[in-house]
């Protein structure tokens, strides 16, 4: 006989986020070691807490391109020799930059950590940025910009941020820059940025994995301890992420013939360092994070409008975007917009049920250990708290803090942070199929921009 009764769960095994220690080298490099028993494939990441969000308008994309160019040759190895040296170690070595940081890292078997950190040090401190390789990376980024315009979802993301942020706000553009700014990048600009940003005083090395017999501080001292602290270095700019004063409330990027409409609805959101982060996390899960979130429930499971609907905040050092997202079949574009707006209004008005609250909290608490099976995930989480200037016990107290979130906290977070009346709507799709209905819906003035055909490169 089939057993009808849903089993109850057993006693959970305790889980504690791995503890870690700091030690600062004399030149300011912060060294964090996190021991994860039996994880013999280590992750080591050296990062500097300054990123694309700290760029001047006219150099947009320079940080990301600089990071990519850092592996294109050093004083010791040319690009190919560098790649081969990493491969011989079985190490994937990567340099990358985002809004808030630039990092050079390696995943490597424990016994080869030292040689891998040699390469990390070289890439961070001694890149030579050959003209020809910088030029190639610039051309690749320009081609990628063309590709992004042709891909409805990438076009929607870019169209959305340029709709909600004011001119002069760095988050108005992709972190990798725009055609206008990327076209100007050359090796001289990259070298100049590297010179004025290189500062051991704001660098952090994090190594995670089975560190039995490994003295991370000694390894770090030998490789990074000799770098002179910078006195005149450019600091983070912390450019305010200003919202646009709504030149468009509803904007369509018209792609005749599109079989779906990519919908983005939202506004400028929040930075990571906020007092109600945990309530916000639970609220976001209920609104648009869980499979049974209010948005996915309505748009996918009730109506079949989409393969998936979601909403969330991208939390950065300054206020990143908040967006609800769905790709819907063209003929339901307007009803789908109405449904999304109704849920954005409802999250602050319709009280969160106990079922919703428990589902969201228990999900976030329960998946927390699932997220940290690998050293690279643990190192990534610790680097995030360093970048955002959060206390060392932020991750250890994550679960108790979440468990303490109440239904009232969730509603308060929704009312403080979700503002459908200030939201912009960005659509990428075939306007001819839904423009009349959209204008009749009375949601506000609609702007239609005809997309240049993507075939005309």
């Amino acid at each position: 006989m089939v057993i009808a009764t849903r089993p109850s769960h057993g006693e959970p095994r305790p889980y504690h986020f791995p503890s870690f220690s700091h030690e600062r080298l004399s030149n300011g490099v912060d060294v964090i070691a996190v021991h994860l028993p039996e994880r013999e494939l280590l992750t080591g990441v050296l990062f500097e807490s300054i990123g694309a969000g700290d760029e001047h308008d006219d150099e947009a994309g320079l940080t990301v391109l600089m990071a990519r160019a850092m592996t294109e040759g050093t004083r010791t190895h040319d690009a190919v020799a560098l790649v081969e040296a990493g491969e011989r170690l079985g190490a994937s070595i990567h340099a990358e930059a985002g809004w808030d940081a630039l990092s050079v890292g390696a995943d490597v078997p424990a016994e080869r950590l030292g040689p891998a950190l040699d390469l990390v040090a070289e890439i961070m401190a001694e890149p030579i940025f050959p003209e020809s390789e910088v030029e190639r990376l610039r051309e690749e980024r320009l081609n990628d910009i063309l590709q992004a315009r042709a891909d409805p979802r990438r076009r929607a993301e870019e169209g959305f941020i340029e709709t909600i942020y004011a001119p002069g706000s760095p988050y108005r553009r992709p972190a990798s820059g725009t055609r206008e700014t990327v076209e100007r990048i050359d090796a001289g600009a990259v070298r100049a940025m590297h010179a004025r940003r290189f500062d051991p005083n704001r660098m952090t090395l994090i190594v995670g994995g089975d560190l039995t017999g490994i003295d991370v501080v000694r390894l770090a001292q030998a490789r990074f301890g000799g770098w002179a602290p910078s006195l005149s270095c450019e600091g983070p700019r912390q450019v305010p992420a200003r919202p646009a004063d709504h030149p468009w409330r509803i904007r369509i990027l018209d792609r005749p013939g599109s079989v779906q409409t990519e919908i983005r609805i939202g506004h400028v959101g929040l930075k990571r360092r906020i007092p109600d982060f945990h309530a916000l996390s639970v609220m976001s899960a209920i609104l648009g994070g869980l499979f049974n979130s209010r948005l996915n429930r309505v748009l996918r499971e009730d109506r079949g409008y989409t393969y998936g609907a979601s909403a969330g905040f991208e939390l950065r050092r300054a206020a990143g975007p908040f967006a609800a997202r769905a790709a819907v079949n063209t003929d339901v574009t307007v009803p789908a917009i109405r449904d999304i707006l109704a849920e954005l209004e409802g999250i602050g008005e319709r009280p969160v049920t106990q079922d919703e609250l428990h589902a969201a909290r228990d999900f976030l608490v329960g998946v927390f250990p699932l997220r940290f099976e690998t050293p690279s995930a643990v190192v990534g989480a610790i680097s995030s708290i360093v970048i955002h200037g959060l206390p060392d016990d932020e991750l250890a107290r994550y679960r108790p803090a979440l468990e303490a979130v109440s239904a009232e906290d969730v509603t308060a977070a929704a009312r403080s942070h979700v503002h459908p009346d200030e939201a912009s709507i960005l659509l990428v799709g075939d306007a001819s199929a839904f423009l009349a209905d959209l204008e009749a819906a009375g949601l506000g003035a609609v702007t239609v921009e005809r997309e240049a055909a993507t075939g005309a490169a």
Binding site: I3, T5, P7, R39, R149, E373, A452, T454
Partner: protein
């Protein structure tokens, strides 16, 4: 670094369910992974996309689980759940805190035992629309989105079960009825057509008791295995296939397809190593020549997808930089493939490819979800879950001669499919300029 070994038990319940358990107590998590030996290759003509649509229906409720409740229950237990469909198989999996193992087993057993009891026209219609939107999102409204369908249609003849993709056609999806769904379920979804792998922080005796309690009463289907049409194929295409595909893309892309040895065949290991040497990262031959040196391409790939009958497929592409001569790009890519068929790769190149493969494999096997998936995969497709411990040694044992020999068999003009995606007609551009 020593290669870790995954120790596992492997047994069958009286009803035919294959149960594999591997302990890993490093983290308080457990992965439950259920593979059914049914994929899009089992679909009947006029019913393409059915295996995948059915996978969606599996999340729509069963006798004791409500619509869309499966994932909700798993998430509320602090876990994640999903499923996927491929040509040869369909799988369902959950990863949870280890104290929630019994719940996941109950959920999987309930839908295997009672799915048709909860099936309604309304739920089927809803998921049909969801799947059609998945097709629009993943294939139809995506640059180069038709490539999988075109590669499969080219490499496998029209009457071959691999000829059509898992997503199927809109018309066939529209034609699916609840009776079709129930018939499909009754035929393919039975314990003797499934492998259940449990990996993580578990007590094997306790896990076995639960599996017996929840899955034990579900009857086997004596009509299994299902007879498939003849699937064997000549090792090569027997003639080049070419197609120019205008699409809404700004950059042209040349996409290759080849028939390749079957999943599990050691020659496919050598072909995987060839893929690593040709296109695995920035040190690879194609990246170096086409992207870095000659600057013809924006990006390059080459990879194989293992299949169990007829032929596997090897595919790859080069995305053209604007304004370059596509013929030159195609020739340069092809020359690198041909070079592999004539010259042995160097010891250093092979050693680097193996070091990268080793790091990738060790990284993947740190995760209980990946371990469970591989155990189920090797058991379902090759009746050999122990391959989880032998694949890395096999890769590390591949020789330069084996790489040359398999490349010489696969990378021949008679075995190639070449799709050239080009920016669509200028009509659109004129319209935009008007």
């Amino acid at each position: 670094m020593p290669i870790p070994t995954v120790a596992f038990s492997d047994e069958r319940l009286p009803n035919g369910l294959r149960l594999i358990i591997a302990e890993d107590h490093l983290a308080p998590v457990v992965a439950v992974n259920l593979w059914y030996n049914v994929g899009s290759k089992h679909e009947q003509p006029g019913r393409t996309g059915f295996a995948h649509l059915f996978e969606h229906v599996m999340f729509q409720g069963s006798a004791h689980v409500g619509k869309a409740e499966h994932i909700a229950i798993v998430q509320a237990a602090g876990g994640t759940a999903n499923g996927s469909t491929w040509l040869d198989r369909t799988n369902y999996y959950e990863t949870l805190p280890s104290n929630q193992l019994e719940l996941a087993l109950w959920l999987e057993a309930d839908r295997l035992a009672t799915l048709p009891e909860a099936l309604s026209q309304e739920n089927l219609d809803n998921q049909r629309e969801v799947v059609k939107n998945e097709k629009r999102w993943s294939y139809d409204n995506r640059p180069y989105g038709s490539w999988v369908e075109k590669v499969l249609a080219g490499l496998y003849p029209p009457d071959h079960p691999y000829h059509h993709s898992t997503i199927g056609s809109m018309a066939d999806l529209d034609a699916a009825s609840p009776e079709d769904v129930t018939a499909f379920f009754r035929l393919h979804y039975a314990p003797n057509n499934a492998v259940l792998s449990i990996v993580g922080d578990v007590d094997p005796a306790q896990a076995r008791t639960w599996v017996e309690r929840y899955f034990g009463p579900i009857p086997a289907n004596p009509a299994l295995p299902v007879a498939l049409p003849e699937m064997s194929l000549p090792a090569t295409l027997g003639g080049e296939i070419r197609e120019v595909v205008p699409d809404q893309v700004p950059l042209a892309r040349i996409i290759w397809g080849f028939r390749a040895p079957l999943f599990g065949d050691p020659r496919l290991d050598a072909l995987d190593m060839a893929g690593q040497i040709l296109a695995g990262g920035k040190g690879s031959r194609l990246h170096r020549r086409l992207v870095r040196e000659e600057r013809l391409a924006q990006d390059v790939t080459l990879f194989s997808m293992g299949l169990v009958a007829g032929a596997s497929l090897t595919s790859g592409w080069a995305t053209a930089r604007p304004g370059i001569d596509l013929q030159r790009l195609e020739e340069a890519y092809w020359e690198e493939l041909v070079r592999m068929t004539r010259e042995l790769v160097s010891d250093d190149e092979l050693a680097r490819a193996k070091a990268l493969t080793e790091a990738d494999e060790l990284g993947a096997l740190m995760r209980v979800e990946e371990k469970a998936d591989r155990l189920s995969s090797y058991a379902t497709l090759l009746d050999d879950p122990g391959l989880i411990n032998r694949m890395l040694p096999r890769y590390l044992a591949v020789t330069a001669e084996q790489i040359r020999d398999i490349c010489a068999a696969v990378f021949v003009p008679d075995n190639r499919l070449v799709l050239t995606y080009v920016p669509a007609a200028s009509g659109q551009a004129e319209e935009a300029a008007a």
